[in-house]
Homo-oligomer: 299 residues x 4
């Protein structure tokens, strides 16, 4: 009989919006929460007995109930509440993994400043991410972001590369460098007894480090830029031990305008879709082991 | 033999990025341009003779060449250059329609302010839109935006509606109202001899009017909010005669927490995907005829 | 005060699956239904009074209730039931437009033929479409399909076209021609007293005519192929008076392998994404007026 | 200084279409190929020296050149050619991972059977997948599929599950069970000296086993169905040692028609989008170690 290997289950993509009212001033948290539970689940796979299976519908209900009971201070703290709940309340569940996407909103400015403290426009830039894993003893928190698109219109070169018989690319001494940052960083916080990092402050810092390292690096290759981005976080944020980056090279090709008698002095580019270079790497605090998987999940 | 009706052709989704260098300070324009040409095109449909057909590949080349020759001051002015070029330079082409999507970027703030005037992060909020139509005599400019998501966490009610035997909805006296604004507005500018509006200033104003009207309207129905949003533009922007809005009602349902012994005092909502209410209407300057189609194109 | 122009509202994208059991043999219909209602709706826009507004939630309920009461014989007949219901049952509603997407399923073949007459796999090819409009007197039925991707690996040329100073395209005497068909066709059935066409048979015929006309036309331009596709329907299906086609030219470029000492004898192509040629036209039965809008809606 | 961990790079999503002509009968292969290379790449990350970096543009060229030189017999065999090429021809590259998506086409049937042997319509059902990894010694081939949507309209129950204070789900004794299959299976072929499996025959068999196991299992939980699907492959295909399945529970909820005086006898369902249950597990040949990652990559 075939063996059952790693397995997990739960409700994915529970969309929860939490409004907090501070007098006339409202605050909003907008999350997409996915729950994955593991434990003593052999029987349901082999025979269909659900005795150990808390329904995915219940895991969904729990997301909404805990949003009421605990509020949502940050994505990370909310995920910690959820993971602890499942592992400590269900004997058959020994491990919980909570993934959260967070969508940022900003206030709509109205004519009278005090008028519309309940009106928001979605920021629409990057999506903030976190993944909380708990096995009853150790915590692992991996946060990050995706869909943050950045571009340098100069200070990027690419030359001196290896060549073989299929190489036709001309060397470039002044090119556009653009990418859509997908990043994950792992916190050193693993012991629930220790005080937690300030999750929101840490996120804000990591985001700035990524942006500034991208902007401030004179780039000879996207790999070099990637390493600088990851290092900036490791060097400046003691609470983070590992960063994984997946950087598609969003090619902007200089258009050949010579057939039309025009000179293109790094002015007109075509933004290409596919194919794209894809540069991926892990940057680690010295002496630490990597734990973030090679393939970053989309959700 | 079947008759040929309205027809048009051209290259769609030409992605052009234009960098302008002002010393060390760079500026970026990022457009997605679609060209549709009409004219004396019966023969190519009936017999396949391409004698009157300027290739779509040429229309693509023209987008890039004109980006160099004229620069891109605004999406609207660039579309006007393109439409004029096609109609005046090709005898067989009597009408050109140029559609443009524009993606906004903002500067990355670096440690030293003067350091990275060539580094950008995509703003990622709404997409700006314009459509230029020219038949050799009259111009029609319809601009707008899509994917601007807004939410009021209070000041919205829905009650007193018609009921039939399929009605089960309870009346609501304090609900979330959220939508993803898709708007188009038509300029009164039609005579190429007249001075053009300030396209960028007009766009900025219309965007603010939409946001503020949404925020400042105490809403008894999304239709009422829609009319206020359109009216705000018509009342304040003389250069615009018609507004069409397509507003999906992005439902946020209050979660029933009573089964868990919890009271949900307008705090925890589920953000639903489908189905969604869809409210669409045109708001016109008095005495003007509508010209924007009922179905807003996606591109 | 600004004038209210055309307006409509309703619930969009109601996903309804209808199972019919014929003994152990089950049948499935899988639809995505969008309702748009118009009528005496000025007041809700001007003042927010909902007295004439049947809630969009009710229109959703009606979709599910009528799926039970009438069954779903075809997308068109179901849309006709819905449109008639809204216009005849609500005094304030004078016009209904029902749009339906239909997803096809086929049976999973099992070891014992009689075993699994309730198991289906989604066909996943084109999406069938229909739009029913009713104003209490006249019916308009426009059906069609989208996302049907076809390719001819030969029998396509493109040469003899107009050239200007921006033309660089070399002429082609044997190229791949590929497109993703989006088609709409309008039925002559408008009088509810007349017998309806056989909607399913008509759809099956139109689909075959589109595919065969694409395959059997030796093409000198995509416009010529388009006209043949539309004409094939008009010539063979008396119940249809108008066809509108939107055909993106899904470019397949021959890869230049000469730098590698290889000859590419129409063997290796790159399938490009953007930009793409876009060819759109209406083909009409002689003497009839066009009614399908120039821009085909996405839904 | 932060340490560089796992890293890889290459060109992603190279779209290659290969036409093979057998007289008037053409054959088509339509792939999306992504290359990831690893090796002696520290320097490019630390200093930006590209001396060891074969450009991603070259890896793209290689995809097209090898499509000419070797043809595309199957996605797997083509990926093996590519991986071997990179590892054996570049000293700095010690490991190659090739991911391929394959889109299936079927012939358009024309009036005269011999007429259009060069006309195709995209099948549009599942996407076939493979991933080839080669480190110069061992091969790993993981194939699979995604986006295969299946539905049983009966023979599914869900009851007897664990309950806590957040459980409200009623037990179900006859429900729709639907999912969108994402599957990966790992071949035992690792030694390049051994004869390869018949990749196409193996794929066809695995696809049938997944479909039939889904259809033929009377299901008490989706976990049980998943295990049956994986076991069917392991039990019947000696060349496969491990299967990983990711099965979203595409919920079809019975609509409550009682408020309208109607009885819903398992006839009318709403197909829900989010949230969805997500059931994931590995099924292994007894005595083998799992190697497919827990999170299946999207590409």
């Amino acid at each position: 009989m075939p063996t059952l290997g790693q397995n997990q289950y739960g409700k994915a993509e529970c969309r929860v919006v939490r409004i907090t009212r501070n007098g006339a001033t409202h605050h909003i948290k907008d999350l997409n929460v996915s729950v994955s539970l593991s434990g003593d689940m052999d029987e349901v796979h082999y025979s269909g007995s659900n005795a150990n299976v808390l329904p995915t519908d219940t895991t969904k209900n729990t997301v909404y109930a805990l949003a009421k009971e605990h509020g949502i201070e940050s994505a990370e703290s909310f995920g910690i509440h959820l993971a602890r709940h499942f592992v400590t309340s269900q004997e058959s569940i020994s491990r919980a993994r909570i993934r959260i996407e967070e969508y940022a909103w900003e206030r709509i400015e109205t004519a009278e400043a005090d008028e519309a403290q309940h009106s928001f426009v979605r920021k629409g830039q990057e999506t903030r991410l976190t993944q909380i894993t708990y096995d009853g003893e150790r915590w692992e928190v991996v946060s990050g972001l995706k869909d943050l698109t950045v571009l340098n219109s100069t200070d990027s070169e690419f030359w001196g590369y290896a060549k073989d018989k299929y190489t036709t690319l001309p060397e470039a001494y002044d090119r556009i460098l653009a990418t859509e940052v997908s990043a994950r960083w792992r916190f050193d916080w693993a012991d629930g007894e220790r005080p937690m990092p300030d999750w929101d402050a840490s996120y804000a810092q990591a985001r700035v480090h990524l942006l500034r390292a991208f902007a401030e690096t004179y780039s000879l290759s996207l790999q070099q830029t990637l390493y600088q981005m990851g290092s900036r976080i490791i060097d400046n944020q003691d609470e983070i031990d590992e960063v994984r980056l997946s950087l598609p090279n969003k090619h902007h090709f200089l258009v050949d305008l010579e057939p039309f008698g025009l000179k293109n002095d790094n002015e007109v580019y075509v933004a290409a879709d596919r194919p794209y270079g894809l540069i991926e790497a892990t940057v680690l605090r010295d002496g630490h082991e990597p734990r973030i998987p090679v393939d970053l999940p989309n959700l």
